[in-house]
Every structure is written in structure tokens, then in C-alpha cells.
């Protein structure tokens, strides 16, 4: 837990690769991804999807994520498992990866 702001550290999520070097032995010569790099990359990729819902994800203290909506509504997200439920609350609509409109938008990019 952060002593200054009281934010609890997030539990591991199955998708955290940097936390599991035993499962993700890096390829020889490849740049090793740190937790921080992995978080930044996750934020960038999630934002590619979230922009379809006019949402924006950012880092919060290196431990959590801050999700912001177009109306200014925001939620703190501990890790990826909670992101999509929060996204639906902030966007006020379902976030379905099988939604035809979302897939078409992603295919156009």
C-alpha cells in the first residue's frame, strides 16, 4: 500500500507477463519488458479500444489505472480484470468485443 495516498497495491492479474518470468522467459536479445513498460503498453492498447466508447485510461501512481469518460466521470481501476466493468459504468453502455460496430471501427484503423 502506498503510505502517502493509501492506495492498495493491486493483486497480480493473469495477464501480467513481467510478474511471471518463469512463464515468459524472454527471447535472447529481445529488450526485456519491465512492469512499467508493460503497464504503459497495456494502457496504450486499451485506449485503442476505449476510444470507441469515448473513454481514456491513464496510469495512477504506477499501481492502478484511472478511467475517464467524456462527461468527466472517472473511476479508479485496480487492474485489467476490473477495467471492462468500470468502462461500462462510465460509458453507460455495454463494451462487447464481439460488437459489430466496434470490430468494424478497429478494422478501419
Amino acid at each position: 500500500m502506498c503510505g502517502l495516498c493509501g492506495v492498495l497495491g493491486a493483486e497480480d492479474h493473469w495477464s501480467d507477463a513481467a510478474a511471471r518470468p518463469e512463464a515468459f522467459p524472454p527471447r535472447a536479445g529481445a529488450p526485456g519488458a519491465t512492469r512499467r513498460q508493460e503497464r504503459q503498453r497495456r494502457i496504450a492498447l486499451a485506449n485503442r479500444i476505449l476510444q470507441h466508447y469515448r473513454l481514456r485510461l491513464g496510469d495512477f501512481e504506477g499501481r492502478s489505472y484511472l478511467l475517464r469518460g467524456a462527461t468527466g466521470r472517472q473511476e479508479l481501476v485496480p487492474h485489467l480484470a476490473h477495467l471492462w466493468a468500470a468502462a461500462e459504468r462510465v460509458a453507460g453502455r455495454p463494451c462487447d468485443p464481439l460488437d459489430e460496430a466496434l470490430i468494424a471501427a478497429l478494422e478501419r484503423r
Partner: protein
């Protein structure tokens, strides 16, 4: 957290009422390699288990915050396993190296899986092992037709055992085996009467067992690919299995974003997902598998099992279209290059 492979494995023995779960456990627990197995049972049946470590379970369920029905924590189960672990640590019971849980016939296995993976204390000491589902040759087909829980028990299984084949006509057993294969092509089907039911093959072989994980992955990939699309779908809600194949290495972070989003919305209908992935910048093939909303921590194989370097993912789903899932994952995959640039 300790390496996942070193945690104590927990086997689930599921199956409908009268399928012979206790009889199977009785038979397996006689084997020396399962002598250090603790057992939790939902109810003491007519067939007694004469085992050193035997504990009963009561029913109590707690819904996880923002979870769905399949992400409930079974409070009774969590308490029972914690209690057992505490006794083990204090030397009050022998230091068991495996736990077997016999569920009630009507139990939905998903909350039990969620309890083991998500409960804050248990997840540091235990891991899910093979799920063994028994189906009765006499009544199995009727139960599968009438009871959604029975179909789910079959769909999430790692091993399927048909019991009472000596009491049913051979054609009934064969028809049941075909039905089981259609619902879950990735799990081997064993005959409780004709097959030896080796404890190691039934309980100990899984993707976290260093000795057997490569063979295990090869087996379910081969079965998943062969089983996909062999039977026509009868209606939209039918359970079906298919295998997606990707030529290009997958970006793990992007795959995680996609799969968590898919499981958030459709987890109740993604009964099983098992994949061997060629992950960008990772030398070894990565094994991923999940049950409904719950995804196990990934593991890797030391080497590729064959010359095929493509990512292969077997899905067992209810009412979801293969084409939609394939197109969605491909569309997400397209975002990866820009994600790399932005990061």
C-alpha cells in the same frame, strides 16, 4: 507468490447424482501415489470413503464484488480448505500433497474453480488440477438433455469417465461417448469398467505437471482441432468446440486486453479456453487456459511440441459464433503495432 507449479493441486470430481463419484474416489485413493491426498466431500453418500483425511462441506456462497454467478466464492469451500491447510501447517493432519473435492451432483463447477483461483489466501497455497467428470452410461444422455449443469460439468472437464457401462447396452455407451466428444473434444473419455483408470493419468497429469504438460497440451490441441466442426449445430445455444489458429506471433498484452474483455461480457458462455501461443518476444510457447471468467496463470513449455509454430486456441463455447470471435481477435491484433508505437 510461490511458483504456480509448486502449489498444492486440487482435483475436482464432478458428475450427476448416482454417477459413481464416491466409488471412483474410493478406487483411486487405494493407489499408493494418491496416499497423501486429502478429500473434501459435499455429502456423505451410501458408499463410504475410508480415507485418512476426510472433511465434510456445508453450503454457503458469497458473490464476488462485480462478479457474476460463475465468479462466486464458495465460502464453505474456502473455509474448509483454509481449515485443512491450517491443520496441515500445525501438524494436526499429515502433510497432504494433493486435495480432491467431490462436489454434489448438481454443483456448477465454475464457482469452485473461482474459489481456488481468486480467494486471497487459497490462491497462494493451492492450484486447480484436473477436473474429472463422471457420466452415467444409463442416465447420462437424458441428464445432458435435461440439466444444463450436467452439460457444463462435461464442458469444463479435463477427463471424462463413463460409469456403469456394464449395466448399459453398448450402443447407449457409444452414443453417450459421441455426445461427450461433441461437447468437449479436448478431454479424453475413459470407461470406468473397461479402462484401468490410472490415478496419474486421471488426477496428476495437467499443464502444470512438468513431466506431462507437453503431452497434455499436444493431446488437447490435437483433439480440439480434430473435434471442431465434426457435428452439425442443432440450435443457437448449443455448446460447440472450435480451434482458432494464428500465423503471426501474438502480442501478449494485446491478447490479455482482448480476452479479459471477451470474458467480462461472455465469460458465462466461454466454458473453456485452452491455448498454446506463439508470443512475440518470448522464446518458449505459452500455455493459457481458463474456465468461464477464470483464467489460470499462464505457464510455458520448454520447447514446441512439434514443427507447427502457429498459435492455436481451443474454445468450448455456448451460443457464440466462431467467426465473430476470430474476427474480433484479429481486429484487436491489428491495434498492436500502434500500441507499441504509443508505449
Amino acid at each position: 507468490m510461490a511458483a504456480y507449479e509448486t502449489l498444492l493441486p486440487v482435483n475436482l470430481i464432478t458428475g450427476f447424482l448416482g454417477a459413481g463419484k464416491t466409488t471412483l474416489l474410493q478406487r483411486l485413493l487405494r493407489a499408493p501415489e494418491l496416499a497423501n491426498t486429502a478429500v473434501l466431500v459435499n455429502e456423505f453418500g451410501e458408499v463410504g470413503l475410508d480415507h485418512l483425511l476426510l472433511e465434510p462441506l456445508d453450503a454457503e456462497t458469497v458473490l464476488l464484488q462485480s462478479g457474476c454467478v460463475c465468479c462466486t466464492i464458495r465460502g464453505d469451500l474456502a473455509d474448509a480448505i483454509r481449515g485443512l491447510y491450517s491443520k496441515r501447517a500445525r501438524g494436526l493432519v499429515p502433510a497432504f500433497d494433493r486435495l480432491a473435492i467431490e462436489t454434489t451432483g448438481l454443483a456448477d463447477p465454475a464457482p469452485i474453480v473461482a474459489t481456488l483461483i481468486a480467494e486471497p489466501v487459497l490462491r497462494h497455497h493451492f492450484r486447480l488440477g484436473s477436473i474429472v467428470t463422471l457420466v452415467d452410461a444409463l442416465n447420462g444422455r437424458r441428464q445432458l438433455a435435461d440439466q444444463p449443469e450436467a452439460v457444463k460439468q462435461v464442458a469444463v472437464a479435463d477427463r471424462l469417465v463413463i460409469s456403469k457401462t456394464d449395466l448399459a447396452p453398448p450402443e447407449a455407451s457409444a452414443a453417450l461417448a459421441r455426445e461427450l466428444r461433441r461437447i468437449n473434444p479436448a478431454a479424453p473419455i475413459l470407461d470406468a469398467i473397461a479402462d484401468p483408470l490410472l490415478p496419474h493419468e486421471l488426477m496428476a497429469s495437467d499443464v502444470y505437471d512438468p513431466a506431462s504438460k507437453s503431452a497434455e497440451v499436444q493431446r488437447w490441441l490435437a483433439a480440439g482441432i480434430a473435434g471442431a466442426g465434426t457435428e452439425p449445430h442443432r440450435h443457437a445455444d448449443e455448446i460447440r468446440a472450435f480451434c482458432l489458429t494464428f500465423e503471426q506471433p501474438l502480442d501478449w498484452t494485446g491478447f490479455g486486453v482482448w480476452l479479459t474483455m471477451l470474458l467480462h461480457v461472455h465469460g458465462q458462455n466461454v466454458l473453456r479456453v485452452k491455448g498454446l501461443l506463439n508470443v512475440l518476444d518470448v522464446a518458449a510457447p505459452v500455455v493459457v487456459h481458463g474456465v468461464q471468467h477464470v483464467v489460470h496463470p499462464p505457464t510455458h513449455l520448454e520447447r514446441w511440441p512439434d514443427h507447427d509454430r502457429r498459435s492455436r486456441i481451443v474454445f468450448i463455447v455456448r451460443g457464440l459464433e466462431q467467426a465473430a470471435i476470430e474476427r474480433s481477435l484479429a481486429a484487436f491484433h491489428r491495434q498492436n503495432d500502434s500500441g507499441r508505437d504509443a508505449a
